[in-house]
Amino acid sequence: MSSRAALLRDTLEIALCDDRFPALFYDKLFAARPSLRPMFTRNSPGAQQKMFAQKLAAIVDSVDQPELLRAEARAIAKSHASYGIRPEMYGWVGEALIAALREAVGPGEWTAEAEAAWTEAYTAVAEAVLAEPPA
């Protein structure tokens, strides 16, 4: 496993030890972009947060394995199409994700290196999702 993958994994596991982390992400996302809230009503907030945490963990686990990552990107693209998510929204989600991670991981463990690794990884995954043909 690369050192970047290990850093992503470690910081995510720290964040997930805080039960509030998935809710924190959605709070930040909806606070910054209230127009997104109606897109997330098919699932209860608890179910949505579990799905988010699981998907995030699955992506981080496959970050060093291009084939697995591609499969994850394909699945996300298909799911997001059904939600009506548009390309510009990926930037908003990325900002909320980094902000929630920063708060949940805490200043002791959240380093500039961690923020750079997450920003780079998120950008790569978002590009891979956007590169998938529309479902």
Partner: protein, 455 residues
């Protein structure tokens, strides 16, 4: 066996065999795993279907290392979410059969000794979802649940009378319905009656029917239960409450090709019925020649004999409650793609229910769940003080608690400003309610706590 999972509630009942040292963690193996990765299986008679690795986000990539050690299981935690064995935090501990191992707020496992592949069960259908109720409503993937299904299937394949034994609340009528449903008689109506509710003077008329105008003018002709059940199944519950005289009256119809007479009628009739009788008393309490008519005797195990099924039964009861009470569903259940999904139930409640020594079984479990729903202060079902009052631990841990004497209790209270919470912690008890029970037992009382939220 997985008995609670935050992210993967659909995987309850899956087994994680530990025959040698194995690692448990999220996703596939890592290059630095200290032992081979263990796998999850859905174990049923004659098969063990492998399942995907853990996808639960709160479980670390490498979380537990488990290894057999004598008659126990050594459990070592390398993950971030804390490990608890029977509710006590530890990094490295031993778990035995009947114990509960929890990765805090991520997953709960019940430790049981069972074969990886359950013995083949010829004639038993398994065309129902894993962990779901079977076609007749029995829920369970334990060895005991599958042994029951096999016993029902065997009894159903024959035409002989069946005696179902078991404590109140174990599901004796469900057993009778299963036997009827699996038998060639399943297209005919299932006739059920509680023998304890029949007035002594009318038992024969209820069972065998009567001729028209007998015993009084104007009495309509009645087929009786034996006649109604011709070609089908007659279920008599609480058969142990049937007076001996009535047991004698049934002897002939049970072994002479169903020959019987309606009251007030000279001619004999025949009924090709099969009797499934049930009692919560010992079989020997029945008259010996009556008992001898039951070729098949099926003993239904109580929940303490199939503890690993309790979470599946809980899920079933809660989903039935939610289906009939939309407000409860809305408040306590997650919703996925618009449909009700899993209930929000705390891992602590599941762990406590698994260790509770049930005496009224499914009926008692249902009552505790209703109590937990009724007393819930938030949008999840957990252990409230009211629920705590209903729950006890199974014998093993109860023994440890019982060893705490009056002197130790008084000392712990004195050393901790008479705070029950602090004293309970000092004594290594799970919570203050266990302490309060012990204090009552010894005629002691504690002070009041300022912190009431340590549930």
């Amino acid at each position: 066996m997985l008995v609670w999972s935050l992210d993967e509630p659909h995987r309850l009942g899956e087994c994680f065999p530990v025959e040698e040292a194995v690692c448990l963690g999220r996703g596939g193996p890592l290059s630095d795993d200290p032992a081979p990765r263990g796998g999850f299986f859905r174990s049923r008679p004659g098969q063990a279907a492998p399942c995907p690795p853990v996808g639960n986000a709160r479980v670390s990539r490498l979380h537990l290392v488990l290894a057999p050690e004598g008659d126990a299981l050594r459990v070592r935690s390398l993950g971030r979410a804390p490990l608890k064995i029977n509710g006590t935090l530890t990094k490295d501990g031993l778990a035995r059969e009947g114990d509960v191992v929890e990765i805090h707020n991520a997953a709960v496992f019940y430790v049981s000794l069972r074969p990886r592949v359950l013995p083949a069960a010829p004639g038993v259908g398994d065309a129902f979802g894993f962990g779901e109720p079977d076609a007749f409503g029995l829920v369970g993937e334990s060895e005991a649940a599958w042994a029951l299904r096999q016993a029902y299937a065997f009894a159903a394949s024959t035409d002989r009378h069946v005696l179902v034994l078991g404590e109140s609340g174990v599901g004796k009528e469900l057993a009778a319905r299963s036997i009827h449903g699996m038998s060639d008689r399943h297209e005919r109506p299932f006739i059920a009656r509680n023998a304890a509710t029949m007035p002594d003077t009318l038992i024969d008329a209820e069972l065998f029917g009567n001729a028209k105008n007998y015993p009084n003018a104007g009495m309509p002709e009645r087929a009786g239960l034996v006649g109604e059940a011709d070609g089908s199944t007659l279920f008599l519950d609480e058969i142990g409450d049937l007076p001996e005289k009535s047991q004698v009256h049934l002897l002939r119809v049970l072994d002479s090709d169903g020959e019987y007479q309606r009251l007030g009628e000279a001619r004999s009739r025949r009924s090709a019925f099969r009797l499934v009788a049930a009692t919560n008393r010992a079989a020997q309490s029945l008259k010996h020649d009556f008992l001898a008519r039951f070729v098949h005797r099926i003993e239904i195990p109580g929940l303490p004999q199939r503890r690993e099924d309790i979470p599946l039964v809980v899920a079933r009861i809660l989903s039935t409650i939610a289906a009939k009470n939309p407000r409860i569903g809305e408040r306590f259940f997650e919703r996925r793609a618009g449909a009700l999904a899993e209930a929000r139930i705390t891992p602590e409640l599941v762990s406590r229910l698994i260790r509770h020594p049930f005496t009224h079984h499914v009926r008692e479990l249902e009552r505790v769940l209703w109590l937990a729903i009724g007393c819930a202060q938030a949008d999840y079902i957990g252990v409230t003080p009211e629920v705590e009052g209903e729950l006890r631990d199974s014998a093993e841990s109860a023994t440890e608690v019982a060893e705490i004497g009056k002197e130790a209790l008084e000392r712990a209270l004195a050393d901790n400003d008479r705070s029950p919470t602090k004293a309970a912690k000092a004594l290594g008890l799970k919570n203050r309610y266990v302490l309060i029970r012990l204090l009552k037992k010894h005629g002691l009382s504690a002070g009041t706590d300022s912190d009431k939220d340590d549930r």
